[in-house]
Symmetry: C3
Subunit: 306 residues, 3 copies
């Protein structure tokens, strides 16, 4: 049992919740490696992917997770919906609830929209990203990836680098990493740093942290969430904030690179670090994060609905 019915904000997730989710995710990691990647656990449950913003990886990850647990997944995306007829989010939710579904996975471009829905509904809700606010399942899958590689959280040094201003991934990650006893630093130019982050150790260039950090967490430049141009130029950004072949080699032994994806190649991570089918650097964990995503989301669906 998790401590809350819904997963909205990492602030609601206790360390006990985290450990429970990780342990369950371990068993689901095994299932996804089997010949038959499916268990009947959630047969007859209806899960709705309610996405008011385009998404591939998160929507598909939840869909794969739900199907591996034998739940029925209904994909509802705003563009193909009666939202075109001017229906409000609340009336959309009322309609879907009346179909007696069991869980809503919601992504919305406004911060707080998912919480607003959760406040009003009885069934559990998972926040799959709301505006610049939170993306708690990303933080959980990042933790799970870290545990898989490092075997612990306590005392690990993590540096989040890039567009902190527009990143819900950063907002969720920082809070949950701190809760698990990790030591958090931030790397961002002042114009991409929100005011409420000023109490953290802040650096302006990844060179300042690259030799000491255990986890270098590169953020996606959220070009689509920037109302105006926050940064003088891509070249300028890359000079201070891009991970390239020279920099990655200076990381200490055992240190890893993470990124929530999709990567803007040549902006936050260079082509040489990304590679083709795989990164040439085995400490780049981007795909392991995706694999963790399915396992962690299976674990969440299981704990919430099972």
């Amino acid at each position: 049992m998790l401590s809350k019915k819904s997963i909205l904000d990492v602030g609601d997730i206790t360390t006990e919740d985290v450990m429970q989710i990780m342990d369950t995710a371990d068993s689901f990691t095994d299932i996804s490696k089997r010949e038959i990647k499916k268990v009947p656990t959630l047969r007859g449950k209806t899960v709705v992917n309610l996405f008011f913003e385009p998404s591939t990886r998160t929507r598909t990850s939840f869909e794969v997770a739900a199907k591996r647990l034998s739940a029925d997944m209904i994909n509802f995306t705003a563009s193909s919906s009666s939202l075109e007829k001017g229906e409000s989010i609340m009336d959309t939710v009322r309609t879907i609830l009346a179909m007696q579904v069991d869980l809503l996975v919601i992504r919305h471009n406004h911060s707080g929209a998912v919480k607003m829905v959760d406040d009003m509904v009885e069934i559990p809700v998972i926040n799959a990203g709301d505006g610049k606010h939170q993306h708690p399942t990303q933080a959980l899958l990042d933790l799970y990836t870290i545990r898989g590689r490092m075997g612990k959280f306590e005392g690990l040094r993590v540096a989040l680098a890039g567009d902190l201003l527009n990143s819900r991934v950063a907002r969720s990650g920082i809070a949950l990493f701190e809760k698990m006893g990790m030591d958090v630093s931030l790397v961002a130019p002042s114009m991409l740093l929100p005011e409420d982050f000023s109490c953290f150790k802040v650096y302006s260039c990844i060179d300042d942290v690259i030799e000491d950090t255990d986890i270098l967490y590169m953020l996606r430049m959220q070009l689509e969430r920037q109302d105006r141009k926050f940064y003088p130029s891509v070249d300028e950004y890359s000079r201070f904030l891009s991970l390239d072949g020279d920099r990655i080699k200076r990381m200490k032994k055992g240190a890893v690179v993470m990124h929530p994806g999709p990567v803007n190649r040549g902006i936050e991570i260079s082509d040489s670090v990304m590679g083709g089918r795989k990164s040439p650097y085995d400490n780049v964990l981007i795909e392991e994060q995706v694999t963790s995503g399915v396992a962690v989301r299976m674990a969440l669906l299981y704990h919430i609905l099972g």
Copy 2:
């Protein structure tokens, strides 16, 4: 067994069909309340949602209904289809039929398009709304909602109010309500009233019926189906045809409000009547209609394919 292979027009549905569908829907209502909302009844059947017009509630309702019966549901929507390459509806249908599917659920923006398909194909077809013509499953789910609340049809007074000219919901509902012995009145300004409805009792303001009607059926202003502006202004419309807090309180004891959704808040129903998570008025049955929709569509799929 229903009297026809397909559900195209309420004119084809007998009172015996209605009673049979309602009784079956009762058992499916129970299934949707269970922990495991799924029965294997239609395992191995392929149902196609063939939508040539965007839709959320109807498409999703059929998808939920099909999945709860374990059928395979294929969603085919015009925008993601080779209709962009200029393929005709008939050639699309020929292709889908050749995949040996079992049932077509069709929505199309032209009146009569669904009938045209049904005339040409051997497998059953359900009309999920064609132009301004018919939406028979809406009429059936409305009846089922009424039976659930009122326990009978005979002698009930129903008033349909609003944009009767552009409403396939009205056209189906009126015919089926009359067939079941209900007393039908209409409320609409003359410019939103089709000529062939002039034999009904017609009023121009919902105040004329609000104290006497058992069921006030508010219609959606079909802004997207109006070729030109049919009504002088939204204010003018609301003055005569909008349900607000003052008016709903004047309804007689036990009388109910229905609407096919999605509601244009502030046009046909006020925000104060709609409320947030729920309407503050427990005689507003909009969500019960959605719940009925799944049960009735499960019943139809069962009778047609089971």
Copy 3:
């Protein structure tokens, strides 16, 4: 066992592969005629439809095939994806692979894109059409349709007519038809004929072949793949390259007409030959090709994943 892990190009498919696929397709043809059109063969396998180009018939055909084998099908189309955020095809594939899926069905508008993916991934890939290059499952379903009607391949005369320049269907078909011992002719105006096809028997009007050919394979005028107008006018095209009622009557006994669909009515095939629900000519095999498509794709999924 097929000779390669992936189906990319008909050049990789041996005659033994073809015969094995046809024999398996026969048993799946039977399943699609049953009351319960489903077998548990691929339960717990995840198949991804990864479509970077809009498609109805091919995408749906694979989806129906996968579902009839009880696989989980994930539909991923470029328009609803993070490709809008500038993600590369390779990074998209890396993400999907990290979800531990079992097979990728890929359509892409660039020739060679599918091969590029296959070179980099470990799991099997099926080419569902890449640019003007290849569409091998179309060639296989065409062969299966021919075998069903003719009972053999050896010595059959097939004439492919129309827009050979832009047709991946032609490119795949010609190679596989020749491999199976068929005698291939081409009918196209010089401006719609690629240079590397000049070693074939080439005619400029279907009248030149219509009385002698066993199979008249009409190609789709790929209006959407033509960068500029390749042909003076539709009238001009039809005069030499359109199949109408007069021409079809001149075909020899037992000869058949095929087309990959969707047909441009009035361009490559006339309305009178196409008909309404069915063609009035029972030697027009367009729907049989679609039916074969499901059976052949089931056979491929079975051989690759079973």
